[in-house]
Amino acid sequence: MTIEIPQSFWLYFTFFVLLLVDGLWCMLATRNLVRILIGLEILMKSVTFFLIAAGYLSGRMALAQALVITVIVIEVVVVVVVAGIILGFYRKHDSLDVGNTRRMKG
């Protein structure tokens, strides 16, 4: 690579932050459970990207890849479980509106 390390670090970091903000905003702005799940996925993308970038910059790409592979597996399991929970919620309330969940207080 031709660019020097600090500069490229900030490049990666910038896009990491952008994806992160995007995902968080997506999660917080919506009331639809599936869309929250999508926001959550965007968050995971950002983190995946950051891990790869960190491996790339520090020269531990193999390690970073190994980590990312595990993260991806965990991610897919979480998504499946959450999808199951969302479906259960839908069957109960006949809606995907997160507003229906805000009933517990205290």
């Binding site: 910038t14 896009f15 932050v17 903000v21 997506c26 965007i42 910059l57 991610e75 479980v81 479906l87």
Partner: protein, 164 residues
């Protein structure tokens, strides 16, 4: 480098589209696109194996799951849809502006960072690392897949029972 940066920009745009578009199906599509773009990014950075995983699992499998969730649930009525869309739009429209502002602000930062460099690049093959150094993580993967399988069993079966 320019191309690489552009790729990243497109990646963020795809994610932005996924979070802003109106229907769930398009949103899912946007996510799949972002995932695919990310795998290209990873590929170009040399993380080939992880890129393949990302492409097949995230862009493929997760999209399938999301699409099936979206199709198993009934879309809302038009009135509901319109009402909720309006309120959502009110909350989501600042997002692009925020992203642009954050991007611009961050592009001015060039503070030095103290990164520890491991030269020569690459500490062996990823397969070696995964299979000989990170068995515990592999075990964790198997375990979490098992947990996921149990979860499918519990959460989806419960549903079938409720149908009766």
């Amino acid at each position: 480098m320019i191309w690489f940066t552009l790729l990243l920009v497109v990646l963020v745009l795809a994610a932005l589209w996924a979070s802003m578009t109106t229907t769930l199906l398009r949103s899912t599509l946007g996510l799949a696109l972002a995932s695919a773009l990310l795998s290209v990014v990873m590929f170009s950075m040399g993380a080939t194996l992880a890129a393949v995983m990302e492409l097949s699992v995230c862009a493929g499998l997760i999209s399938v799951v999301l699409v099936s969730v979206a199709s198993l649930t009934r879309p809302r009525s038009i009135q509901e849809e319109l009402a909720s869309r309006r309120s959502r739009l009110r909350r989501i429209w600042p997002l692009p502006l925020v992203l642009i502002a954050a991007g611009v602000a961050l592009s001015f930062v060039h503070a030095p960072v103290d990164i520890v460099l491991h030269l020569p690049k690459g500490d062996g093959d990823v397969r070696t690392v995964l299979w000989s150094l990170r068995q515990l993580d592999l075990f964790g993967q198997i375990l979490i897949l098992l947990a996921g399988a149990l979860g499918v069993l519990v959460l989806f079966r419960k549903e079938a029972k409720d149908d009766d």
